[in-house]
């Protein structure tokens, strides 16, 4: 089982040096986690390091395929508020 980085990643490098298994690859269009190397930080850290520093909600999926940091969890912006404001901006 492994964590996964998906396309909303902004390539900020924050996770790469933290990985105890060197499983994170600098790749384009976005960074990747080598599923064969990822240990979910088991035995090294209490929390998975990549998901603990990643600033982008939804960019990292846990082994169940769910967002490790779901919408609103990092920015504090309620998802419905975000949706409302984005709709407003698009309507301009």
């Amino acid at each position: 089982m492994a964590y996964e980085i998906i396309e909303t990643c902004v390539n900020c490098w924050a996770c790469e040096p933290l990985c105890p298994s060197n499983a994170i690859l600098e790749a384009r269009p976005h960074f990747l986690i080598d599923a064969r190397k990822c240990t979910e930080c088991e035995g090294d850290h209490a929390d998975p390091q990549c998901a603990s520093i990643c600033p982008i909600e939804g960019a990292i999926l846990n082994p169940f395929g769910e967002a490790a940091n779901p919408p609103g969890s990092l920015t504090g912006i309620p998802p419905e508020k975000m949706a409302e404001v984005m709709a407003e901006i698009q309507a301009r």
Binding site: N11, C12, P55, M82
Partner: protein, 501 residues
Amino acid sequence: MELKVIGQSTEQPAGGCSSSGCGGSSDQLSHLPESIRQKVQDHPCYSEDAHHHFARMHVAVAPACNIQCHYCNRKYDCANESRPGVVSELLTPDQAVKKVMAVAANIPQMTVLGIAGPGDPLANPERTFETFRQLTEKAPDIKLCVSTNGLSLPEQVEELSKHNIDHVTITINCVDPEIGAKIYPWIFWNDRRIKGRKGARILIEQQQKGLEMLTAKGILVKVNSVMIPGVNDEHLEEVSRVVKAKGAFLHNVMPLIAEAEHGTFYGVMGQRGPTHDELQDLQDKCAGDMNMMRHCRQCRADAVGMLGEDRGDEFTMDKVETMEVDYEAAMAKRAEYQAAALATLKAQRSNNGESFVALSSLKVKKRENRPVLMAVATSGGGVINQHFGHAGEFLIYEASMTDVRFIGHRKVDLYCSGGDTCGDAETTLQKIIRTLEGCEAVLCSKIGYEPWEQLEEAGIQPNGEHAMEPIEEAVAAVYAEMAENGQLDQPKTSAQLQVSA
């Protein structure tokens, strides 16, 4: 290699009344020890005077961050936005060094290289210090600075002091974790994400510890604070007192930038930024305790050029790769330009002394002349040398019976960009006039008939009579003229009403 350190230069210090500290002035550094003045006299981000003559650049080598601030959005990457945390292209240290050499060869005003993001430079220590290491060797005449949120500062102070970095900026928005929790949703610390008050408390402790360690080593520290109305606006006076007590030598209170389209917490949640008046009020309150900086342009993490401008487009990596740089020759040219600029600065300072004498004589005749705000159009050099229609920003000065002081800058959309955009001129001009609210005169090299009329109608007197004159001298002269004409006897509002009647 022997490094040239500005602080050790043999140039005679400006003393007595030739320094603009005499008789009151806008130079917020005037009462600092000479050793510090020497260090910052050509640093555009640390000296208001210097920012008319010298340029800086930031290289975006530091993408990672270890905290989240509510005014920042890490997804943001835009060519047209100008604010911290925004960049167009991320550079490797090798690319950054190439770019610095190219810019230094083409912009003789450049004295300073800063690393300020787009993340936190000290959260990217390898990339940040590799860039500094190479530059110390290859561009020894350039000052190096770094700007940080302070979280990992204590563990990096030793490394910082090895790299000839004598200017560090720490962003400190609070010294109270309760307030911090409303600004920082989380930090990454000891292998965990820590949210809320607890995270804010650790960040504050690290910032304060880092500040003390830096000043103990004799490294100059500037503190940046973002003014967030209703969150930390009242608290920042205390921040100012605390950081001054710990040895910070300059405090830069900046307005919150928050627009919904930036996608930041504050932007989306509708948190407003401060008005010009609120910002100035707070800066004045803090000034009792601290040297205040008012000329910050809150530039991008890849800005290039004088503070009011960004020439980043001329130095994208694909262009830099094709540039031939003879750095030795460029260094000689820069030294020559910079010596001349320092001489100009010194001359302007001593001239200011004279106009302040003239101002103080007004006191005898009119006891209660009120202060007046004036807007100035300049493209650098410390003189009034820009056409009203070409100004992308106006510098705001306050003239009073005792001195002329710099208050801040106000950005505007270009009134005249020529060509077919002119259909828009009407509304743009109205916007500019609104931006200049509170000012009673605007000083520029030239101005068209139409804006002249409309400015006058709005109670703002256009003035093109002081083209190419040093700014503070011209502002003092216009103020003296207004006093002569009796314009200062009337309260501002009635004067404006009369003009528009």
